[in-house]
Symmetry: C2
């Protein structure tokens, strides 16, 4: 463990002395200045300025019993997901909102089941005020693990059934977005609308499938094709689909990456988009959406906003510690119409 970081920094005591007030008053000013008369506020502020005073975090934590830090728990297998712009955006939102709340982001990297003990100890050890985690796979033990530490937490993404339901989460309206996408294809006049789905062990993918079925109750099972959210799987799925049902004229694809793969297959097969086959994606990921030809119609979700929301929910959880757990939030999605459908 490291050592002292700098020469002795000025204490509140010093500020108070310089401003000619008591430590208590100085403290009040530093923490907002409520109930202190303006002239004194100014004096203290000036002293702070002159001395370059910065509050000692540890001392403050010690008495307030809060430490102004939130853990973002990332499981090793999901780390690859940093390559996923989705995750990046979410972390960005979290980071921004945390900054706004004067809290810091402590990255907790879970190396695998063998690492669970360490994580639980850390989380339970009162180093952070709360935790943010992502529930990506149904078989993920992480949520349960964190749940056991009894630390306030919020999930990103709806946890699979079976997970602790008292833990609030933030998720996009995957099902509603899917419905809107499919309805859009219907309204365009598409008759045989297929769905290229994401991995079924992810609730988001499953919800999108459900949304598809909400609109197309009796859809031919042949029109449902499985992908794994990668571009290649989208291309493959599209080919499969075309082989099974050459008459498909509309496809709702579970994410943009797969949609771009599907687009590639369609192009290779000489099919026009949207004339022969209309395509709707999901995510509205700039890196994909901006580059496809034709531009991709897709369902947008505010990923960064979801990240921010996770933090807000956690903060609420922390501040109303006694009260009931805040409700989860489902953020709306919007259909962004471009050229592909």
């Amino acid at each position: 463990m490291p050592e002292q970081t700098a020469g002795s920094r000025p204490t509140l005591e010093a500020v108070a002395a310089r401003a000619g007030v008591s430590r208590a008053t100085a403290s009040r000013v530093v923490n907002g200045g409520e109930g202190v008369r303006p002239p004194l506020v100014d004096k203290v502020r000036q002293a702070v300025e002159e001395l370059g005073y910065v509050p000692n975090h540890a001392a403050r934590s010690l008495v307030t019993r809060r430490n102004g830090a939130v853990a973002v728990v990332i499981a090793e297998p999901e780390m690859r997901i940093f390559s996923d712009p989705f995750f990046e955006q979410q972390v960005r939102g979290i980071s921004r909102e945390l900054t706004a709340h004067d809290s810091q982001l402590v990255l907790l990297w879970v190396e695998g089941p063998g690492d669970h003990d360490r994580i639980a100890r850390y989380l339970g050890g009162g180093h952070v005020d709360g935790a943010l985690a992502f529930s990506l796979h149904n078989d993920d033990e992480l949520p349960a693990l964190i749940g056991r530490t009894k630390i306030p937490m919020v999930f990103g993404g709806r946890p699979a059934a079976g997970a602790d339901l008292t833990v609030p989460y933030v998720d996009a309206d995957n099902r509603g977005g899917a419905r809107e996408a499919v309805r859009h294809l219907v309204s365009r006049g598409c008759r045989n609308i297929a769905h290229i789905a994401g991995p079924r062990d992810q609730t988001s993918a499953q919800d999108r499938i459900d949304g598809y079925h909400d609109v197309l109750v009796d859809a031919d099972p042949d029109l449902l094709c499985q992908g794994d959210f990668t571009e290649a799987s989208g291309a493959r799925a599209m080919a499969e689909l075309l082989d099974r049902r050459p008459d498909v004229d509309g496809v709702f694809v579970s994410n943009d990456l797969m949609a771009s793969g599907a687009l590639r297959t369609l192009r290779e097969r000489g099919l026009r988009v949207p004339e022969d086959v209309a395509l709707v994606g999901f995510d509205d990921m700039v890196s994909v959406v901006g580059t496809t030809e034709p531009a991709l119609t897709t369902v947008r979700q505010d990923i960064e906003g979801m990240g921010r929301l996770m933090v807000r929910l956690l903060m609420r959880l922390l501040n109303e510690s006694g009260g009931a757990a805040p409700a989860s939030v489902i953020t709306p999605t919007t259909l962004v119409r471009r050229a592909s459908a």
Copy 2:
């Protein structure tokens, strides 16, 4: 800012009472047990166990003046680099080593120049013991910014000339690795060896160019082609190269991603690798190297190890606060021979 994280946790006082010793002795045991007789050590350990005691970090920080946290500063434009497996691996290494040192990773996300103030204040505010930053572009102001805060820090990657030279860094032996790659092409009998370079404002790319020139002192300038580390730029550069000098028979590419692009172009032009053109990449990135056809010969650098090294260097810096700054470390690279050269 958040609130108390759990019900009152046991204090050292409680542990001491239960073990029938003084708080001082309990503290000694918790911190290693030096100079405490075995029977007492056992008693205290047992009390810790039974009570589920976890030291209060804030209280400890308050007196030790260390806070067991290290900032990893990531500039917004570089964040995209999380999609770069390079960065991911480096952060992984950092995370692991930090864990080994009982320190936590505080992620500091710099949103742009407007954010510099906040970062400087945070870094200077004694919240973390030190900082780790990446110096990726010559024009990056971040290193200078952190430097001004006088906080102990270590760079990942050699900073551009002009940066604070007293700050130690960890970098791969880019120049040496490049030399080895080019020499390998020479020994294979290649006569016209080209280089597809990375962005010149990155020292790593420049160093690789220099290594190329070390071996091929009088290389035809036409044999040097500029890329930007993306797959597409590699493909484009290879095409350009082929147009300018159809007689190239060997290419050293500044990273694997560009090499895979170059490979694509070569395939499209009907050229055999390595028979017609031999190819050597840089990085040994699994995701690329494993998928190319033929398998890519490349220069490996131990990226995760570099991350760990950054942490070790920082720890040394922190522990020998008085002494001279530790020297920077250049980690060796190794040529991994596969099929492409």
